[in-house]
Amino acid sequence: MSELEVPVVQPGEAHDLPPASAAERVSVNERRVHQVVAMGGGDWAEVTARAAAEGQDDVMIINMGPQHPSTHGVLRLVVELKGEEVINLQPVVGYLHTGIEKSAEFRTWVQGVTFVTRMDYLAPIFNETAYCLAVEKLLGIEPPPRATALRVLMMELNRISSHLVWLATTGLELGALSIMLYGFREREEILDILEDVTGLRMNHAWVRPAGVSQDLPDGTEDKIRAFVRDMRAKADEYETLLTNNPIWLERTKGIGHLSLDELIGLSTTGPMLRAAGLDHDLRKAEPYCGYEQYEFSVPTATGSDVYARYQVRLAEMRESLRIVEQVLDTLPGGPVMSEDPKIGWPAKLALGPDGLGNSPAHVQHIMGESMEALIHHFKQVTEGIKVPRGEVYVPIESPRGELGYHVISDGGNLPYRVHVRDPSFVNLQTGTPMSIGLLVADVIAAMSSIDPVLGGVDR
């Protein structure tokens, strides 16, 4: 500590400025320069105390984040540095915690969809689908085949858009600005398709228990086919830019290496695990949504470093394109929502002169033809469906790994408990072992290769 008497301000007291001798003459900002604001939270107290006790004068403890452009949202890293070398790193999360799991306990089963879609905001369709699969498993029903196929179609498009964001942001963080522009450019096309189908670019709430809310609008299939055609060439373009680019190789090869055993021990799933050589993919291992009928391979790599994860994600985009084409070729007809009046959402939407609303045919049916249909509509919308008592866990393969929904029903119209096993949250544990020994600039690459989405981590 310096000879100057530096007042230490504890967290939450920073507004309580110490009286400065020349307070009349110095501005508040100038006075702030002379005070030390003690950071709190996470391991901070423990880490600083240990550093002080061990007399590690040359160890510098730095907060990276929570406001930092390359920490993917509000991820905070408490980094212990010796010079430029990282000797320890602790991820601190929770800055985006919104209590979605608790809130979902006070909304009906259908309303739950609007919550879960906001968790992992780069992969909303996956959250919705996993939640709905869990509710359907509790109900013991299968959605209509067309709804299942559409879910697969949308999930794979969403997987590409999610990987594109990963590619774009990682490129940006490593200084490859072109790939950032390209990635977001193609993502925009996918978001356009998602908007056509669901009405929104994100937070869709399009997948619903027992089906999906709307069928594909006219012309969407052609649009998707055109996108798939273009996207193949675009993926080649990314490869030309990056795969053999010496700077890219230098920044990614050998960075963030973890062995397969370490990854499994830390419960890591998704592209990180596949980049270590294990071809584990829940779409193959525990097929859901009829993935067994589509032909695709599970890309793997052996490097288990940032570069290998890049290879896997790029290859996965190509596989997703294959699945999208196959879904379009084999898309079954029929309804997109269960026609069971006790379960299926009754409203049939249509575009009228004043916007999207209940279709005139449906209004005619419930208001003029069938009292029973009106009662069902009213009960469904106000009270919601009742789901039999039970507990299920449904895992699906999201762009980041195993996305599991543990849903408990007490037999009522509200969920008893919805727990989300978010892959970003679990995978973030690899940050510590991966970063120790790296240089600060490489920590950015290593953390980025986890592809954490803090909306999902904190929920």
Binding site: G40, G41, G42, D43, V93, G94, H97, G99, E101, K102, F106, K137, L138, G140, I264, G265, L266, S267, T268, T269, L278, H280, A285, E286, K379, T382, E383, G390, E391, V392, Y393, P395, E402, G404, H406, I408, D410, G412, N413, L414, Y416, R417, H419, R421, F425, V426, L428, Q429, D458, R459
Partner: protein
């Protein structure tokens, strides 16, 4: 051999030797084997948890090398047992492509469960999460601090008796009641 008499469904073939092995070796540690919709749940005595987990991880027929998830649950309004807090461990076996769930239930007065971070290091964050929201103490956890809520938060927000509070609104003293007392809870009523 009687095969899983407690279950009302046939568990996956690969899980039979695991269940048999568990019953033979940990007869007194197993409280109940149950299941729903094809998922097998084994409820354990908390003192034997680490032992059972190690066996499940290492045994030839099981090889549950990945702890997929830990769910904290508060069964206060679900059943009448005094052990209302529950940690639900979801295990996955790459070798046999199997899943099994373990449950350990404790009371709020004595919410201690041994940590499984020594068996699966990946239990670190999930156990912190269950501690944060339900107040389950995982004994032996290297760093059991809150993970999502602020460090100085009082109480465990996802417990079923956690007060939710209402909101006063500035309209002739009106008050929005907390969500668990609103009238649609448990069905639509006219009051």
């Amino acid at each position: 051999m009687t095969e899983a008499p407690e279950l009302d469904f046939q568990p996956p073939d690969g899980l039979q030797p695991v269940l048999t092995g568990l019953r033979e070796r940990f007869e007194d540690a197993i409280r109940e084997v149950s299941g729903h919709r094809g998922e097998v749940v084994v409820e354990l005595e908390r003192d034997r948890l680490v032992e059972v987990c190690t066996w499940l991880r290492d045994h030839e027929a099981a090889r549950f090398r990945m702890l997929a998830s830990i769910t904290g649950i508060d069964y206060l309004k679900y059943d009448d047992r005094p052990e209302r807090l529950c940690a639900d461990y979801n295990l996955y076996s790459f070798d046999h492509n199997l899943r099994i769930r373990l449950k350990v239930r404790v009371t709020t007065e004595d919410p201690h469960i041994p940590s499984v971070t020594g068996v699966w290091p990946g239990a670190n964050f999930p156990e912190r999460e269950a501690y944060d929201f339900f107040g389950i103490r995982f004994d032996g956890h290297p760093n059991l601090v809150r993970i999502a809520m602020p460090e100085d938060w009082k109480g465990y927000p996802q417990r079923k008796d956690y007060p939710l509070g209402g909101v006063d609104v500035e309209y002739i003293g009106a008050h929005i009641p907390p969500p668990d007392t609103r009238r649609y809870k448990g069905g639509w009523t006219s009051t």
